[in-house]
Symmetry: C2
Subunit: 281 residues, 2 copies
């Protein structure tokens, strides 16, 4: 009885209850290039007296439904006045429709084990649409963000797994699109190492590439867990041997993280790496 009364009093003592929000928009873009509506999450720094006239770099993130909240939170926290490890930034997360189609750079029927998957209903179909997806980003999404938000030209492209190969594919085929590229556990296995072969072809010794690149892998937890790690070591070694001029890069291996926990640590490390020399003006 006494306890019930206490609870009643407590309930009565709650004076207000509101919904928690975050400074962010959900935008639907009708893409002419992709011929479909695309949902995009856009997070921006909370306007205050210290940043009222400022413009911000933009991080473009693939797999928006998976990692947008994480990146938005990192962007906010790490740029707080009492943390200041990175600048305030805008985070743009693109949600998937047909993930394999958009994030793979070649059409392929070869699965993780290099075996053909000829099933008409395979999760691998359709594939090879990354070039078109990058056109959507460069010709529709970036202009939209630049028109509607307070951006500077500095841009980051970030992705995980298939998003990781999409990020490296963009660096190799459209290096001018972004200033920094993040590839967390890139699925180099795709199409029998298509992106590794492309890197080998495009990154000749002495190539000039004034870009920043972060790439990583973890303990992927697949049946054959060495494939990711072997491929990442090959990619890292390729970049070392070719001596790409201007490329500021780091490779991180996280043996205690799984394929899905790795982004928590790796996206944080990637932001710290990209802005390691940043100082507030």
């Amino acid at each position: 009885m006494a306890k019930a009364l206490v609870i009643l009093l407590l309930l009565f003592s709650v004076q207000a209850k509101a919904q928690k929000t975050m400074p962010g928009d959900v935008v639907i873009i009708a893409s002419k290039i992709l011929q479909e509506n695309r949902t995009v999450y856009i997070h921006y720094p909370k306007p205050d007296s210290s940043n009222i006239n400022k413009r911000f770099p933009v991080l473009y993130l693939m797999d928006g439904e998976s990692h947008f909240d994480m990146l938005a939170q990192y962007a906010d926290y790490l740029s707080r006045w009492d943390v200041k490890a990175i600048p305030q930034m805008i985070v743009v997360g693109v949600a998937n429709t047909k993930r394999t189609r958009d994030l793979t750079p070649s059409e392929s029927i070869f699965n993780y084990y290099g075996k053909p998957d000829t099933s008409a209903t395979s999760w691998m179909r359709p594939s090879g649409g990354n070039e078109k997806f990058l056109q959507f980003i460069s010709q529709e999404l970036i202009p939209y963000v630049d028109s509607n938000y307070k951006t500077i030209s500095y841009k980051i492209l970030a992705g995980h797994s298939f998003g990781g190969i999409a990020s490296i594919n963009c660096l190799l085929t459209h290096p001018g699109m972004f200033d920094a590229y993040v590839a967390i556990s890139p699925s180099f296995w795709w199409d029998r190492e298509y992106v590794l072969k492309l890197a080998d072809k495009r990154l000749r010794e002495g190539t000039v590439l004034y870009k920043t690149l972060f790439y990583s892998d973890g303990n992927e937890g697949m049946d054959d867990s060495s494939t990711f790690h072997t491929n990442l070591l090959t990619f890292d070694s390729l970049l070392s041997v070719r001596k790409i001029k201007g490329l500021v890069r780091t490779y991180k291996y996280y043996p205690t993280e799984t394929h899905m926990t790795e982004p928590v640590t790796a996206y944080y490390d990637a932001l710290r790496f990209i802005f390691k020399d940043w100082k507030e003006k």
Copy 2:
């Protein structure tokens, strides 16, 4: 002209724009114990068919305005169906009013350097109200959360800096209140190592304490940056020597993190540590 037209078309092609929200409430509790209104953020798992009848552990967080979004995001992401590193949980963040008063366990005028600060307007005043704050948590906040959200009895108390000594003070003085305690860079320097002395007194050899404890420090970036680290090593050594029965603990040192970046990594590691043996039933 062509470009302007493209931009116009793009603007026209945005079909909807909405505000991004997160599943969370902002509650104002009129505390009888503290004689003031307290703002509390409460994040809970998004209800879906897989968890409709489930109840959840609760993490109580000090400095809610600083780290609530971070913990809410970690709780969500790490419990996703495709990540499942920890269980779904409720996160309760208490925003500060008088931080020094609520989070320090003793009244003190001795600053970080052990020198008296007798200024009437010192940021150190008032102090020593942690016992009352813990009463607010146990007698008002926890009953409110248990009455209004789907909780199980498993509870975590987590704090950083002053919140770190508050967490350890609670473990020492009210060990029954929580099941796990997180203390990130606890300010052991407070009142000439008051909490270290208390630990020395309370944790006799053979003390039985079936609890989980995570504590850590970083490169604190103070003038005398060794104070935190020396104190943490002392605390860790004390726990090792006293052989507390039942205590599952870990100490992490982050030399590449500052006092303010450390929580990003340490809260993640703390959650992984607390639930390292967790498996979904």
